[in-house]
Structure formats: structure tokens, C-alpha cells
Symmetry: C2
Subunit: 522 residues, 2 copies
Amino acid sequence: MGVVLSTSILFTDHYQLTMAQLYLRFGLAERRARFDHTFRSYPDYGTHQAGYAVVAGLAPLLDWMGNARFSGEVIDALRSIEGSAGSQVFDDRFLAWLTAQEGFSALELFAVPEGRVVHAGAPITMVEGPLALAQILETPLLNRINFETLIATKASRVSEAAAGGDVLEFGLRRAHGSGANGATRASMIGGASGSSNVGESLDLGFTSKGTHAHSMVQVFMATMGGELESFRAYADVYPDDCLLLVDTIDTLESGVPNAITVFEELRRKGHRPVGIRLDSGDLAHLAVRSARLLNDAGFEEPTIVLSSQLDEVNIWQIRNQIAIEAPRYGVDPDHLLARLTYGVGSRMATSEGASSLDGVYKVVAVKDESGDWEPAIKISDSPAKIVDPGIKQVWRVYDERRTATADLIALTDEDVEHRPLTLHHPKLPDVSRTLDADHISRMEPLLERVADMDIPDHPRELIEQARARRLRDLDDLDPGVRRLVNPHTYHVSLSDGVSEMKHRLAAHSVPTSRGPAALQDS
Amino acid sequence: MGVVLSTSILFTDHYQLTMAQLYLRFGLAERRARFDHTFRSYPDYGTHQAGYAVVAGLAPLLDWMGNARFSGEVIDALRSIEGSAGSQVFDDRFLAWLTAQEGFSALELFAVPEGRVVHAGAPITMVEGPLALAQILETPLLNRINFETLIATKASRVSEAAAGGDVLEFGLRRAHGSGANGATRASMIGGASGSSNVGESLDLGFTSKGTHAHSMVQVFMATMGGELESFRAYADVYPDDCLLLVDTIDTLESGVPNAITVFEELRRKGHRPVGIRLDSGDLAHLAVRSARLLNDAGFEEPTIVLSSQLDEVNIWQIRNQIAIEAPRYGVDPDHLLARLTYGVGSRMATSEGASSLDGVYKVVAVKDESGDWEPAIKISDSPAKIVDPGIKQVWRVYDERRTATADLIALTDEDVEHRPLTLHHPKLPDVSRTLDADHISRMEPLLERVADMDIPDHPRELIEQARARRLRDLDDLDPGVRRLVNPHTYHVSLSDGVSEMKHRLAAHSVPTSRGPAALQDS
């Protein structure tokens, strides 16, 4: 097999390399360029859509970049690639240029710190540096940050639906190959308190979570007894971590009564049983009925873990059903809701319903020969695809209630302190609103120079920081934007400077689109 | 950071290890057990559903298993895990037992070879060996084979919709982290002819594909000219691989005319232009209009690559629209359809609409102390979740037209040669059909002992073999089962032996579900 290239610096798209070589040929490879990474729309899960996203994926990207090099093996592999005429696609001059790079170390990154709430249309990452390198970085940067942001966003919504209940990430068996590890990490940033994924949990400084599967009960049934014997065995080995899966045979007729028998035995020995897990059937109804059985036996504290096809909508529905159904069985709904834990699997780890984030990476400026930035733009039939040009920063504008009211995309050399502040609609040039000083309590730049970030060495500390940022930002967000279904649209606006530059460039580009004659004349 | 555990043998769920330790404590860890891996339903994409799946992921699983070991670092990490009472969860005896294992080498695998068409409800992988090891393997096995089967299935449907047109996998930027590499591989098995993913393509022995992005045109617009100059530059560097992206400014007014100008220059120099790519707008309409412009300029051969949010339904619709619209612009639809290539991104690489395969891994038999197999079953409120017990093989039954008519799940020691052959409905005990000798042309066992498989060392040869299997199996499949929307249901049936065993065990299990009193009496 030889060396594995798929995780090397060649974890990129072919056209990044063909363009990089072209830039080298035309003296542009080292021209300083700026790229913005922006997602165009919030994940749309079909029957519901996110109104915000939670950014994640930066630290794993930086780890990968730190090791990515144009090593001898990489260069040899590139040399072996042949074009359709049978000749070497990447010539020796280009390969020598790549070899001379120390990976991506010449690039400068700007990013919104992990865990922060971010919005569609406002850049979340920016890259500046030699054009050819910034181009090659496009794919791995998008891959990592699009994906982890997608999952952190899903996890955040799941956590919001859980309303304070613990969310455990259980998706490893159906997540996308080794991408499962990124899903675990992003879920932890988005609000999951733990994961069943042993290796990734340990790498992140956490303890993995889990107890037993149906197979344990089945094995006992086939060998040395039945469900009760399997529960006794589990309690014997894990007396202080005894959480029993009760639906292998029949939840209410067999599983819960057997669990109670074993819990009583544990209690007599001075141990506190941890709880039960329900993994099939009508989870709300079974939670109520199980709670009643547990309560009647004096087990009011053990947790009830729900799993099986959970996502934010199912959790929301289960909680609503419990609120209605619990009193009918003599169970206090608030008490029951407070003891629930949610094991969320493939729907969170794969962001079911919206399995990708539409983040794009677009060149927004290139330095000319005299070192001045020339803004770049892409015109398109679809207004949503017109790029916001120039060297920019995103400012979060907080209103008089200290609620985030808009993200303002401004040029970095632009004064955003003046009042009133004009916020231009990102697509419609004639639409804007103004905020006077009374309506702005604070403005905060969202992107930070990555080299200046204080990223903790210990990954757990990093996750904890990211979780704290998310909670802070959610607290500052209009509750309407956080709605599960049909959320309010958060405003992402352009500054005077970006708006003017965008419309000037768009107008300027029109003549070049009239065809080859016009172009050749120009 | 220390050692990376997330890709080690600890790429598994926590409960596999807690169960393994329990089995060791109760003398069951080395008891020989058999597990079946079965997916319950075909991917359902919302508006359409697959009627078959294409299995993939075995070779990467075997590669991973070959390297997975309970190394000193792994054991140290496990020793560090504490339970809620603060004590070590995994005791020294268990850690010593793990250390004594040579990874998973004591396990025996049986699998349907990659690329074959497989069906919901019929096992695609089986594992036999020491119970504790087989349990730990559950998660990594499911992760890899569920995921690659999901993507190979999606790719197969995309390829069927493309009706012979090349499909290129372009999903790296939005796929799930490093799972992107598995998506590339599975897409290649499922019918993609190439991928933009440089590293994984090279690892698989293929050449990655791609030309340039909008950014190249934008960079030229910002620095040294416009779209035409950027196209000229591209043709200059890649005269024999000149494929131009024509929608940066305006496809019909600027992009295609500029491409034709450059193609004419190439033609005068003796080169054959490769084609154009359309990446936005109404792709069917733009393909027709672009073809007309290219044809009028004498470029009837260059390919037209379509990309942007493609999936099987979009491709199917585009082809239908072209069939209607092309004649209105004086373009021969068959000629145009034959020159199309499809660049398919995130929708294939993430299986949008159905982002996970519901494959499960269930214990079906455990050897008793005297070495006889005891079948195992899981009862459930949901009949679809009742496990088919016993040591089994899946037979594909071909009818008199040599079309696959059913997959028959039989016990390995059962005679399936007798005629007529009874096929039992998998859920309804009273429903069956019989096939007499006239209606069976052939029966073929689907699962092979992995140790006996002739898996090529060269990954490209392996992919080519898998592709050939897929084409052969599709050819043997009823066209109704291959339908894009609302496919026929392929029959997966139980043999006399499995059916009898299942219903006997299910009936036998019922008394144990009456509660603890009954259980304690038994």
C-alpha cells in the first residue's frame, strides 16, 4: 500500500492544484490574496430549519494544517499524475515550489472562535496569504469547518429541545466513517454532555458513556438464565453504575419489573441504582409508565435514558406528550422531565435532514503589483451567490436590551463607530435600516486572528470554553431566532463601504459579460 | 496531545467494553458467539426510496482491524476511566485479558463481497468468535460498512440516473470530515468513474479529476484581465486538458463565447479542447443553449460537465428536460445527452435525504458449555426488530428468466436443494410461497468466508472487481426494483428452518416476559 495520501496535504480537490500551478506560471502564486468562508443558508431539516448555527472545527483544522507538508511522498505522487495526452500534469517547477513551502505556514487565518453562534451570509473564517496556498487550503478548510459547524448546530438544537436534560452522543455506529470522531467533538461543543465514542472522548479529555446493549440480555437468555439474571450480573459488576436497558423482551411486563428487583437488591447492599434506558416503542408513554413503576418502588431518583431515533423534534414532542400524559398515571410531569437523559444517535451525528452545510470559500481581494488590494467579485444569475468583496470584519451589534440584533459585514478600514449606523440589506441595494446611538449598546468584532487566539493546549478546556461561548451567545439571541420551527430571520447586513463596493463592482462587471467581442475590445 | 486514540481499537462504543468485561467476569468472554449485521430498510430519501443497496466498506474495515491492537497506550487509557464512585471501571484482570488478545485476530468474518447488490433484512456481514471480541467489533464494523454501503447505494442510483454518462465525485468540501475519503471510495464502487479527491484517488490507484473554479476567473478579473484572459491562461498551461468553467459572469453571454474563442485558438494549434462546465442556473436549459453555441462553432465533441446540487432525481429531470428542450434549439437530444458528464458533490458524498443506513448487529447464537450452538433472539414490540436466530447463509434465488427473484435466509446445515422450495415471509408466519424446480435456474450463496476471499492487494483492482459485481448484479435485478421512485419490493424470505426456529423461540420467550415472579420461578 505504501504511504497513505488520503489524510496528507493531498486531502484536497484536484482543481486546487491545477489552479495553483497556473498561478505559479503566471506569476500569481505568491500574490497575496484574501478568501472568505461563508455559509449561505442555515441547515434546513425539511419540516424545520435552524435560525442560527454554532461554529466548530477550527482546532482540528489547525492540528491537521500543523502536520500537512509537501513531503517527498506527496511530491512523488503528484509527479505520477498524467494528463489525457499522457504527460505529467504537474511540472517540476511547480513541484519544486510546493516543496519549498512549509505546508500552509505562510497563510494567516481569521476565525470566529469555536462554539460561537454564527449566521448565514456572514463570513466565519478568512484566509490571507500566497494565492496558490490559500487556494489549496480551500478544500480541507471547508471540509472540516462546514462539517463540524453542521453537527454543532444540530447538537445545539437537540440540546435546546432537551431543555436542560443531559444529551449523550451515541452516533458512532452510523456516522460517516472516521468523520464520526468529528461528529462526537462537534456534538460536545454543541451541547452534548458526553458520548459513547471511547477513543474520541478520551482524546478530548472526557470519559465515554454507556452501559449495555440488548445483546447482553440475549446472551444470558441463550446461556445462563434470562433478563433478570443478566441485570443481576450487570449490577454485580457495576454496582455504582447500574443503568439497565429494559426493552429487550417487554418493557413494562418484564424489563422494568426486573430492573426494580435488581435495584432493590442493590439498595439493600447500600448502592444507588443509576437508572434505566428505554430504546423502543412509544418513549413518552413508556417513560411515564416506567416512572410510575419506579416511583411506586421508591426509586424516584434514578434517571430514565431515552434513545432510538431521537432528534430535536422527537425530543420536543416526547416532552410535550409527557406533560399531558404523566398526570393521568399519577406521575408529576416536572419531576419526570427533570430525570430524563437523551441518547441521540445517527440523527445528530449525521445531521439527518440536512446532511451538509453549504459553506463556500470565495476570493474577495487580491493584491496588485504595487501591493494595493484589488477587490474581487463573482457575478451570478443567483443574487445569493454574489460575493461580498474586500477585506472585511464582521461586527455583532447588540441593541438596548443587550440582545444581538444584527451582524454587520464591514470593511476593516471602515469606521463603524459613527451614529446613526446604516445596515444595508445584503441583496437589495435600496433596502437599509439605521440604528441610532440609543439602540446600540455594544459592537463586537467576531473574527479573531488565529495566531493571536489563546487556544488551550488541553482539548477538554477548549471544549469547555466553546460550550461557554455557545451558552453566552444563545443567551444574547432573540428567543424567536432560537425557535425550533420557523425561526425569526436574524439580520446579516452590509456596511456602507461593503455595499458601495459590491454594487460598484457588480455594475462594472456587466459590460464584460456581453460576449467575446466586447471582451476583446476591452 | 500524546497518542491519538480516536482511530485506535478504541474507535468503539463504551458499552461494548463494559459488556466485554462482564462476559469475562461470568466466564463468557471466550464463549463462541455469532453476530449478524443486517440493515432493516433501504435508504429513504424522502420523495423517493432505494429498492436495493450496494454493499461496500469491507476492505477498509479489514485494513483497520489488521492494525487495531490493545496496545500499552490503549490499556493505559482504559485504566484511567473512572466510574461514578471514583473507582477504576475496567479492572486489571480485564485489561490483562485484552492485552493477551492479538487485536481481533481470533474472529472469523463472513461477508457479501463489495459491490454486490444486497437487500434489507438479509445479513450482509456475520462475525463468529469469542463473545467479548465480537461485541467490541460491533461498532467499528457497523460504522464502516453502514456508511460505505449507504454511499455506494446513493452513487449507484446517481449512476443509474446518469444512464451511462460519467459521474465524478466532487463532495470533499462538504462531506463529513475524514469520512470524505470513505465517501470517495464508496462512490467509486457505486459507479462514479472518478473523484476530485486527490489523496484518496491516489490511494485507490486512480487519477483525481478537476480543472478550475470560479476563483481563477475572479483572480484574473482582479489582476490581469478578465474571463477570456483566464481561459487563455488555462489553455496555455493545460492545452490537452482544457475544460473551462463558464458561469462566473454569465454563461451564455460571456462564458461559452469566451470558451469558444479559446477552443478555436487551441484547435488552430492542433489541440482538442475537452469541454465546458456549467455550475449554476437552469442546467438543462443552459446545456442545450451551450451545446448549440458549441455545435455552431464546430465543437460537437467536447463534453459538457454539469454540477451544482446534483443527485439522482435532478439528473433524471435534467435529462428529461433536455430531451424535450433540445429540439427547440436545433440540438439533437441524443447527441447532447451522450456528451454530458455529471459532477456530483455533497448530495452523493453525504447521501442527502437519508444520511445513515440502519444496519444493526445482533447476536444470533452462542455456544453452550458442551459446544452446541444455542440460538439467540431479541423479542420486541416492533416485529421488524425481531432477530432471525441461528447460524445462517443467505442464498440468492434466480428464476427461470435468470433474474434474481428472492434472497433466502437459511440455516447453514439446512438442505436448500429440495424442490419445491418454500419461501416464508420474514414477519408473517402464515405467509409463504413455493417455487418448483421449473422456476429456479440457480441458487448462489451470498456470504463468503473473508479468510478465503481473494481480495486483491492493489486497491484499484479491488474497486474494479466491485464495480463489475455491481453491474452484473444490476443486470440480474428486476428493472422494477431499480426504479428511481417507488421501486418494487424485492423478496427477502426465510427458509423452513429459520422460520420454524424463529417462531419457536419467540413463543418460548413469551412466558419470561410476564414479570419477575415468572422469571424467578423459571
